[in-house]
Amino acid sequence: MRTKLTIAVTGLNNTDNPGPGIPVIRGIRESKDFDVRIIGLAYENLEPGIYMDDMVDKTYQIPYPTAGTDEILQRIEYIQAKENIDVLIPNFDAELFSFMKVQDRLLEMGIHTFLPETEQFEERHKRVLPQFGEKYGIQVPRSINITTINDIYQIKYQFKYPVLVKGQFYDAYIAYSEEQVQTHFSKISAKWGFPIIIQEFVQGTEVNVVALGDGEGNTIGAVPMRKQYITDKGKAWGGITIQDKKMMDITHQLISKTKWKGGMELEMIKTKDEEYYLIEINPRIPAWVYLAVGAGQNIPEALVKLALGEKVKPMTEYKPGTMFIRYSFDLIGNIQQFEQISMTGELDKKEINNIHNINQ
């Protein structure tokens, strides 16, 4: 018998810079153990997932994290009174901290989450990656944090060009000269603030792992992937699962040493000499997670079970050579749907269907 669950998910922006929401929902909907009602939580009223009635049963708009945790809690309380959510899965880096802060309040309302601990979340930030590498014995590229344009002239004394110029949350560009660093510095700092991270450029192939830690040091699932097709935003539009023992060893070690709790994505560079450099840890499930589901590991389903306090047996097998290719698809909607979500902050699947019927 399937367990009836109501699961709320953010990250419905299934665009060319996709959020993980829809792939997470696909994994959960494929579970043979759950009978789910999916509540979409959206920030923008044109997030495509809002209009995907085969994925999301009802969507509610929620305030941006910058509005503060009180506003978020107030909105979730309103939604909870109507929906009785069992599990909430936040999928954006920028919102994670807010949800981590209110997770006890959410639990009091009956909403379970499965998020990293504050220390785990803080110590893996890009700006402190060298310290993280040292603490856990993982090779990372050298990097420095800079906060003023005057710091740029020092780079040549510490690094060989090219270098990577990174924002603390998003964005990364290669710079071959001081002038290029200046351009990227201004662009990134205007968007994401300070510090700007200058990172050694390690030549090699980027390889990624999606993984799930149970918070006790066990790896519940892990699937490595190489991007095959990358968009101009640097996002994977196609990828393939690979067999890479060393990368898996690094993942298991890292989860074991940090006792990582929740989903994560490890981004690494594999050099020609088969050395691995950890370049980033994203503290949530990545948008390509459905590849792991396709390769035999339903990581979103396992995360839901962990959130509900169930013991989950580690998944150790997956199929190398499993591929994904994204595609774009035009959903046809009408102005009444947009009106509903814009004016009321809510859109129900039934209302989407009613509106379709009226217009036919």
């Binding site: 190489r226 393939i240 690979i242 067999q243």
Partner: protein
């Protein structure tokens, strides 16, 4: 000389390296050489088998063989030779 263990070649000549996710298209002779390497044949044995089955001058084969091995090495498809 050995081919890396995680390499699979299909009947159509499609070679897949599951360690890196890279794939390649092999021609007929490439498929033969890979198959013989996977059977742990020596360089002399491989060339002698090909000379029996194909009409080719030994010198031409030798050049083509080393070109092909060079390509395998360049694409990191050979097992550790140290």
């Amino acid at each position: 000389m050995k081919i890396k263990e995680n390499i699979a070649v299909s009947g159509s000549g499609f070679l897949f390296d599951s360690g890196t996710g890279d794939s390649y298209n092999l021609n007929e002779l490439g498929q033969v050489i890979i198959k013989l390497l996977q059977e742990n044949k020596t360089e002399e044995e491989i060339q002698s088998i090909i000379l029996q089955d194909y009409q080719v001058e030994p010198e031409v084969l030798s050049n083509a063989y080393y070109d092909f091995i060079g390509m395998l090495r360049q694409h990191n498809l050979l097992a550790n030779e140290n």
